[in-house]
């Protein structure tokens, strides 16, 4: 079916993370028609899986709440979750986009009461915990999920568990027969806010992420620190559940490395500095953080935060790219390398190692139209016909603040396209 709601005056925003929501809302609050699609079951994207933001140590969900309220109060934005772009044809001002909507097996009758989750027994890896925890196969992605509607995992369709969910729902929201849908829409412009994904840490072989339980990624560490996370906010070692008090942070894990990502991922230095404060939050003076770095890139007034952390007696810095990690008999990761400020060799054991993994464009995993212009790392520069734009971390490794700026700018670029189309059309 072709969707009548969208027209050449419609702005399609792909990706419902903070950048996509921002681009959509900023355009909508200028009175434009926007279609916001998200691949996952909820809006919010990666930032909703972070515990705190640097440098204010505030919570991502705080801004998400405001954006969701803007969204609820604004009828110019049409939100579609579990939806992906299959193809884009046409040109600036007149694109025909084919969308694929995956079945949620729960319709909009859902009141979020949770009866289905109670009834279902099967568990799956929680996709919103980086697999660190399990969740029922009928689940609400997270407390701030939007739409606040449950999802039934495809794995229990045609199983007794599926039937249990169906039976448990008093409002007829469970629809096990739901099928994948294909929708074709006409839009004037497309904003790709497809965000980023963590670089596959297993590829950084010397660090043994695939071999050592106590080597984890910075994103997994966010989940450990989050009271809503798998450990209830305790910094527990995966190997033995013991509290990790002496934690190493390895910078440029995949970034600034021609064997992995050519670019600097910008956020990792601040992210690790932030995470050293999680350690302080957990243990006070009894915690210990060591940051292994090449250059600390805390630019502009973020420098204040670096200075603050430098004054923290529980945090020390080693100017060194760690050469390799080996595991000792107690499963402690032992870091080997040389502090290059004056040549000091070290072999230091830590309870836990956090790899500050780099940012890779999520779009690397998405089939973009051939017309898109990408840089050497796959970040979006724009489109040849200047009718499609990148926004946020899809355009460059950006922190939240800069992503929102970028998304706001992208909203105006999109508005320019529909304005021109409208004025040409008469």
């Amino acid at each position: 079916m072709t969707d009548s709601i969208a027209t050449s005056q419609t702005i399609l925003v792909v990706g419902g993370g903070i950048s996509g929501m921002t681009a959509a809302l900023e355009a909508a609050e200028c009175g434009k028609q926007v279609m916001l699609i998200e691949r996952n079951a909820t809006l919010g994207g990666r930032t909703s899986l972070l515990y705190r933001y640097f440098p204010k140590m505030c919570h991502p969900t705080c801004g998400l709440e405001i954006n969701l309220r803007r969204l609820k109060g604004n009828r110019n934005v049409r939100v579609m979750t579990m939806t992906q772009v299959v193809s884009v044809i046409g040109s600036r001002g007149d694109y025909t986009v084919t969308l694929k909507v995956a079945p949620r097996y729960v319709n909009d009758h859902c009141t979020g009461c949770g009866d289905c989750a109670k009834a279902v027994e099967a568990e799956i890896d929680n996709p919103y915990e980086y697999g660190l925890a399990k969740t029922k196969a009928a689940y609400l992605p997270h407390a701030m999920a939007y739409p606040q509607r449950y999802v039934i995992d495809a794995s229990i369709i045609n199983t007794p568990d599926g039937e249990k969910a169906l039976a448990a729902c008093k409002v007829g929201a469970v629809d096990l027969a739901m099928q994948e849908e294909t929708i074709v829409v006409k839009v004037g412009t497309v904003v790709w806010a497809t965000g980023w994904k963590p670089y596959d840490a297993a590829k950084i072989q010397p660090y043994g992420y695939d071999r050592y339980a106590n080597v984890i990624t910075s994103l997994e560490f966010e989940r450990l620190a989050d009271p809503k996370g798998p450990t209830g906010g305790k910094l527990l070692r995966p190997s033995d559940g013991r509290e990790a008090k002496n934690i190493a942070f390895i910078q440029c894990a995949g970034s600034r490395d021609e064997n992995h990502l050519r670019h600097c991922s910008r956020i990792c230095c601040m992210a690790s500095l932030k995470q050293t404060q999680y350690v302080r939050e957990a243990y006070g003076d009894a915690g210990k953080s060591t940051v292994y770095y090449i250059d600390l890139r805390t630019i502009d007034r973020l420098e204040d935060f670096y200075v603050k952390v430098q004054k923290d007696t529980t945090v020390s810095f080693v100017k060194s790219k760690v050469a390799k990690i080996v595991e000792d008999k107690d499963a402690n990761p032992v870091l080997h390398g040389v502090d290059t400020e004056g040549y000091h060799r070290y072999a230091t054991a830590h309870d836990l190692v956090v790899l500050a993994v780099g940012m890779e464009p999520e779009a690397n995993g998405i089939k973009l139209p051939d017309d898109m212009l990408l840089d050497s790392s796959g970040f979006i520069e724009g489109s040849r016909d200047e009718g499609m734009f990148g926004a946020g971390a899809a355009t460059s490794p950006l922190d939240v603040n800069r992503s929102v700026q970028s998304a706001t700018a992208a909203a105006l670029r999109a508005i320019k396209v529909v304005y021109k189309t409208a004025t040409v059309e008469g």
Binding site: Q205, P206, G208, R211, K324, V326, E327
Partner: protein
């Protein structure tokens, strides 16, 4: 099935009566069973090895290896040039690649080659026998001829450096390659997968000049093999084999240790598993006797 033909570059250590001669012996049965035909390159010369650089410099080393490549191209056209010695393979492949990339080096090298009445135009692919086994034969192919599975043997797969870096085996990691363990398992033995010295350098290149340093490396490797319950070390590298086997006695003398860990080649495992005799497997050529393997071979 027709035999696959390869130009063969044995290297100095695999000559009759040389330190790697038992390797040379052991690949006989292996190649035979796997339908691999190795055609020795006539009048091949030394590759310059790991320490050739000190005196040899750049161009003379390139010339040495170019000569072998040229001979291979001339006498065994169309055949990949295969070596069993990592150092030989590395030096040859490096030369082949560098000459391809730098036309000036190619020209200068040919000026030198002319003195030996040869020319080289590139186009020869330098490979390691292990590559041939994995890529051309495959693990299933290696398993097929097994008649005497090495049941119950716990073996530490020691890859070492140069088979693994800088080129390594396609698709394998530099830090934790798995192919040698897989080969051990294809012949029915158990690989000590937790062996953490898998790719540690044995210091072979400095065995003579820096004995203490190199012997420390060897000690770590052998002791880790013991710690992880291995009864034997297997390696694809001649220098590693000789070095790790020969110096255990020396280390024992110096440090009062009781190291006696047999060190054999993967080819010896295969040759035994394929039904080769103790002699055919070159198992008569060890300072530290790999008894269990010898027993199986004897049966």
């Amino acid at each position: 099935m027709a035999k696959k033909n390869y130009a063969f570059y044995p290297g100095c250590s695999s000559q009759k009566g040389a330190s790697g001669s038992n390797f040379a012996t052991s690949i006989g049965v292996m190649c035979d069973k796997l339908e691999i035909q190795l055609n020795e390159i006539p009048d091949w010369n030394c590759c310059g090895a790991s320490i050739g650089y000190g005196e040899g410099g750049e161009l003379p080393r390139l010339a040495l290896n170019a000569r072998n490549l040229a001979l291979s191209a001339q006498h065994l056209p169309g055949q990949d040039m295969v070596s069993g010695c990592p150092a030989c393979w590395l030096a040859t492949r490096e030369t082949a690649e560098r000459l391809n990339e730098h036309s000036d080096l190619m020209a200068e090298t040919n000026v030198a080659l002319k003195e030996a009445g040869l020319t080289f135009k590139g186009g020869v692919k330098a490979r390691h026998i292990v590559e041939v086994l994995i890529e051309d034969v495959g693990f299933a192919g290696m398993k097929a001829p097994v008649v005497k599975p090495l049941q119950g043997m716990k073996i530490a797969g020691y890859v070492g450096c140069q088979t693994n870096r800088p080129f390594g085996i396609a698709g394998e990691s530099f830090e934790n390659p798995l192919y040698l363990d897989k080969m051990i398992e294809t012949v029915g033995a158990e690989a000590v997968s937790s062996f953490d010295q898998k790719v540690t350098c044995c210091g072979g290149a400095l065995a003579f000049s820096e004995p203490e340093k190199s012997q420390k490396q060897i000690r770590d490797i052998v002791e880790s093999a013991y710690d992880h319950g291995a009864e034997m070390i297997v390696t694809p590298c001649q220098l590693c084999q000789a070095n790790v086997e020969i110096y255990q006695a020396e280390i024992n003398k110096k440090h009062g240790t009781k190291l006696a860990m047999p060190v054999v080649y993967y080819s010896q495992l295969m040759s035994v598993a394929y039904g080769g005799t103790l002699k055919q497997a070159g198992l008569d050529g060890h300072l530290i006797q790999p008894n269990r393997l010898q027993e199986i071979a004897g049966k």
